[in-house]
Each structure stands twice: as C-alpha cells, then as structure tokens.
C-alpha cells in the first residue's frame, strides 16, 4: 500500500477515533457515577449534528421543542414526587430548572435562528439546546430507578435509546443532513492536506480531556463525582446527593454528545439513527478501558478509529462486522479480569 493512502487512513482513523474518545469518556463518566450503561449517548450526537444542520439552513430545530417537552415531563415527575411532601422552595426550583430554562432556550432559539448567526453562535446554540436534555433524561428515566441493578439500568438504557431515536425520526425525518464546517478549507502538513474541521476535532477533544481532568482533580463537585464512583454509600454518608452527581454526570454526557455532534456534522452525513452506531464505537473503547479509566478509553478509541479506517479500506463491506466483533474478545477479557458479583 502506498504511504499516502496509509497516511490518509491514519488521519481518518485518528479523526474518528477522537470523536469515539469523547463519547467513550462520557460513557465511562456516566457509568462510574451512576452505574448506567448509557446506550443513548449516541442519540445526543445525532441530536447535536442534526440541530446544527437545521440551524445552518435557518430552520428551527425540532430539538428545541423536544427540550421543552422533556422539561415538562421532568417537572411532572417532580410534581408527583413532591406531592408526597409539599414544599414551595422545591417546587419553585423544579419549575425554574424544568420549565423556565427550556422555555428560555426555546425562545432564544426562536430569535437567534432567523438572524443567520455565524458558525460559532450556531454551535453554541446547539450545545445549549441539547445539553440540558441530559438532566431531564436522567430525571425521567433513571432517577426513579436509582436502586436498580446495572442490568435493569441497561435495559432501561435500551428503552431510552429506542424512544430518543424515534423522537429523532419524528423531529428530523428520515433524511440525512450535513452541516457546514466551523471553519472551511484545509491546509497541508508536509504533503498531506488536513481539513480545518479535523483540527477542530483534535483541539476540542484535547481541551475536553484537560477540562475534565481539572474538573475531577481540582473542584469539590468533581471530587464528589469521583467519590460517588468509588463508593456510592460513602459519598451519601458525607452528604453528597445522588441526584446532584447523577444530574451532573448526565449533563456532562449530553454536552459531550452535543459537542461531538457539532464536530462530526460537517464531515459525515448524519441520519436520525447514525448516533447509535457512533456511540457504540465509543462503547467499544470504554469497555476496553473497563468502563473505568479515562486515558485508556481515549487510547482505545483511537485504536477503534484506526481499525475502522483500515477495515473500510481493505474490506469496506465488512467494516461494521469487524468493529463490532472486536468487542467480543474484549468483553471476555474484561469478564475474566473483573470481579463478578452475583446479584448485580
């Protein structure tokens, strides 16, 4: 094989790998803190990409309305719960988070969309629309199940995935979209042209990792998330509320998903169901890392990207088969090296 082809494949692999790394990080984060295997992570990617694509053509994205719907549902869940022990401050807080916030975002979108803003404003708006969904999804689907086993939570995740994918179809249709890049054009490194969008992907991935590192090492909330991951009961015993850490983890995951969506929207055509496959590849990486180590996840994700790039060159029809079969030996290896708790 020619060196140039290899170089292209590697570049392609690393670019995709960086996205998988972001998603893998989110999956590890959510699992460590809440024990939820977050299959719907990919849906946030699709939501992010499709939202950006709609903003590009000056259309109001369906996700803005979906956000309001999610918020109302979350508020109703709170209402049902607080009826048992009514309290005005709690109700006011719930209304602020679940009603006022999404409605404000929706209204803001309504004003911003027609002004044809620049690419960064659109990217930011996309993230602002999608990120709070993490909180609502947690509130609606997972929080009532916080005592459930990992297995039940996993089946829940599959249900959430199904519902969110269907909602994606309802709001964006079955057609695929591609967004405009954040910055157009490319430049060359030596003989090889590198798309500006790829540089964005590398930059954002690295920035996200550094940001997460500081969050977990230096802030008390970050430490509380780590503490919850290490020892859930211990965290509760020092007064760390599970809702706080769970909500934070899901918002971070949704943010990462939206960012990933913004990053890939210009380099691939995204359909309502594209996110699932992308998310699963993040999973392969996260599982290689035992759903626990951030750096290993990142490295494994690059590996998955490279395998996929090479597979698409040598056996393009079998690309998905190869990537998803890859997970099985990894799972076996993980099963053999992880302590098995019977009733979990």
């Amino acid at each position: 094989m020619e060196f140039t082809i290899l170089a292209f494949l590697v570049q392609d692999g690393v670019t995709n790998g960086a996205i998988y790394a972001l998603l893998g990080l989110a999956l590890v984060l959510v699992f460590a803190v809440t024990r939820v295997i977050f299959i719907p992570q990919g849906e946030f990617v699709a939501y992010g990409a499709l939202t950006l694509a709609f903003l590009d053509v000056g259309r109001m994205p369906g996700t803005a309305m979906l956000l309001v719907v999610f918020g109302i549902a979350a508020f109703l869940f709170d209402l049902v719960e607080t009826r048992l022990r009514p309290g005005l401050p709690a109700l006011a807080r719930s209304a602020a988070i679940n009603l006022v916030l999404p409605f404000a975002i929706y209204t803001a979108a309504l004003f911003i969309v027609p002004t044809e803003p620049n690419a960064f404003v659109k990217a930011l708006l996309t993230i602002v629309i999608v990120a709070p969904m993490g909180l609502y999804v947690y509130r609606i689907a997972y929080r009532p199940l916080s005592d459930a086993t990992v297995l039940v939570l996993l089946i829940t995740s599959v249900g959430v995935h199904l519902a969110m994918m269907g909602l994606g179809l309802a709001f964006f249709g079955a057609e695929g979209f591609r967004a405009r890049p954040l910055t157009a054009g490319s430049f060359s490194v030596g003989f090889m042209p590198v798309a500006a969008q790829a540089v964005w992907i590398y930059g954002v991935t690295i920035a996200a990792m550094v940001g997460l590192y500081f969050f977990f090492e230096k802030t008390l909330l970050g430490k509380a998330l780590r503490a919850t991951a290490v020892n859930r009961l211990g965290a509760r015993l020092v007064g760390v509320r599970t809702q706080l850490t769970g909500g934070t983890a899901f918002v971070l995951a949704a943010t990462i998903g939206a960012v990933s969506g913004v990053l890939i929207a210009p380099i691939t055509t995204v359909y309502y169901d594209t996110g699932f496959l992308i998310g699963l590849k993040g999973f392969v990486a996260a599982i290689i890392a035992g759903l626990s180590s951030f750096p290993v996840t990142a490295l494994a994700a690059i590996g998955v990207g490279l395998v996929e790039a090479l597979a698409s060159f040598y056996a393009s029809n079998f690309k998905e088969i190869i990537v998803f079969t890859l997970i099985i030996p990894v799972l076996i290896w993980r099963s053999l090296t992880t302590d098995h708790h019977e009733d979990d």
């Binding site: 430490k223 290490v230 020892n231 015993l237 020092v238 509320r241």
Partner: protein, 234 residues
C-alpha cells in the same frame, strides 16, 4: 428533649423482619453504646437511624422528624461512621477529608481540617497517600476524621474496633471518649462490649432484633446476664 429518639423501629430484609420495634432515646452530650452478638441487629439499627436502610416507626432528631434521605440527615448534623468505614479508597487522605466537609463552606473546611490534623497527626503525615493504602487503624482514624469534617452534632459509630489490634482499639476508643468534650454526642455500636462499657455513659443490650436490657454502664457491667453472654465470664 432527647437528641435522638427512636420509637418502634422495624426493619425488614425482604419478608424477614430483623428489627422488631426498637425504642431508644439518647440525650445530648452523652456516649451511648449498643452491645450484642453478631446478627443481633446493631448495625441495622444504626443504618436505620441514618436512613441507609428503610425502616418503619418514628425517628425524632432534636424533637423533629428526621429528613427522609441520608444526605438530608447529614445536613442536619448526623453522621455515620460505618462498620466498613466506606472510605474513598482510590482518593487521597486529604480528598477524603475535603469530601467529609462537602456541605460546609471552604473556610469552615479549612478550619476543621487544621483542627483535625492536630488531633490526628498520623493523617497529616499521610495526607497525600491514597486512603486504600492505609493500615486498618489509620483507616479507622480517617473515617472518624472525615466524619468530624462535617461538624456533626451526633456521631453514629459502628464497630470502630472491628479488625483492629487491642492496642489500636484502645487508642481509637480513647479518641472517641475525648470527643465528648467537643460537644459531639455519640451512639456507639460495639461487639467488644468491655471496651464499649468503659467509655460509654449508658448501654443497651440487643438480642435478635430487640433491646433486652438498658441501663447505666455500671449497672450493665454488673448485670449477670450481660456478663454471662458478652463479657466472657463464667
């Protein structure tokens, strides 16, 4: 008014009831111990008081019903040092302490930490070390220190002597006894009945999920039934 008042506390695991209506009241500023054999329900009682396991009956804390969640009870000034310590093993001693003061402001945390490092110089030496690498005695000290970071009014201590060599047990219990002077009330569950009776003001004897005998530590230490079953006489 009692600091903590438990009335008719019942706890079931599945369909099997393990606490059959326990009543216990303790006044502020006291060290109260609950002794009894393995499986008597002592740990379950503390866990119920803290909200770690669901229970029926009423729990009054400072005359009012306790908040429903564990976290709410921590915020109200209760703190449980569990039998298993429940430390954050892969985090540093200092991070464990910081998290102990999660509900406190940064300045309160700094103050409490300085204070506790004075009291536990060993922890100060090891503050960068991971909690999981500490020895058994140090872990128990860290668990205590972490709990005290939240400035609790009521400390629920579950088997602080568990798995420790006698010398360290004495050291830990000495520290516990001193805590009384700082205004912390303590509900102490111990299997090591002799040691517990030495530092407590009053004691309750649990058997099969019920409190069988209660009294001052002197009365209890002299009670033939207690001696026979738990103090290894005869």
């Amino acid at each position: 008014m009692s600091l903590l008042q438990l009335s008719d506390i019942r706890v079931s695991y599945g369909k099997a009831e393990v606490l059959h209506g326990v009543d216990l009241a303790m006044a502020e500023g006291r060290i109260v111990t609950v002794i009894g054999a393995n499986g008597a329900g002592k740990t379950t009682l503390l866990n119920a008081a803290m909200g770690v396991v669901p229970s029926s009956g009423t729990i009054l804390y400072r005359g009012k019903p306790v908040p429903p969640s564990v976290e709410g009870r921590v915020a109200a000034g209760m703190c449980l040092v569990s039998e298993k310590r429940e430390l954050f093993g892969s985090m540093s001693v200092e991070d464990n302490m910081e998290l102990g003061g999660f509900l406190r402001s940064a300045s309160e945390r700094a103050e409490a930490r300085a204070d506790l490092y004075d009291r536990f110089p060993r922890l100060k030496e090891r503050r960068k070390q991971l909690a999981g690498t500490l020895s058994g005695g140090e872990r128990q000290m860290l668990a205590l220190a972490r709990a005290l970071m939240s400035r609790p009014k009521l400390l629920l201590l579950d088997e602080p002597s568990l798995g420790l060599a006698p010398k360290i047990v004495a050291e830990i219990l000495g520290i516990v006894a001193e805590l009384r002077s700082t205004g912390v009330s303590i509900l102490l569950v111990e299997q090591n009945a002799r040691a517990a009776l030495e530092i407590a003001d009053e004691a309750h004897l649990m058997e099969l999920g019920e409190i069988r005998r209660s009294g001052s530590t002197d009365e209890m230490a002299a009670d033939p039934a207690v001696v026979e079953a738990y103090l290894g006489g005869g």
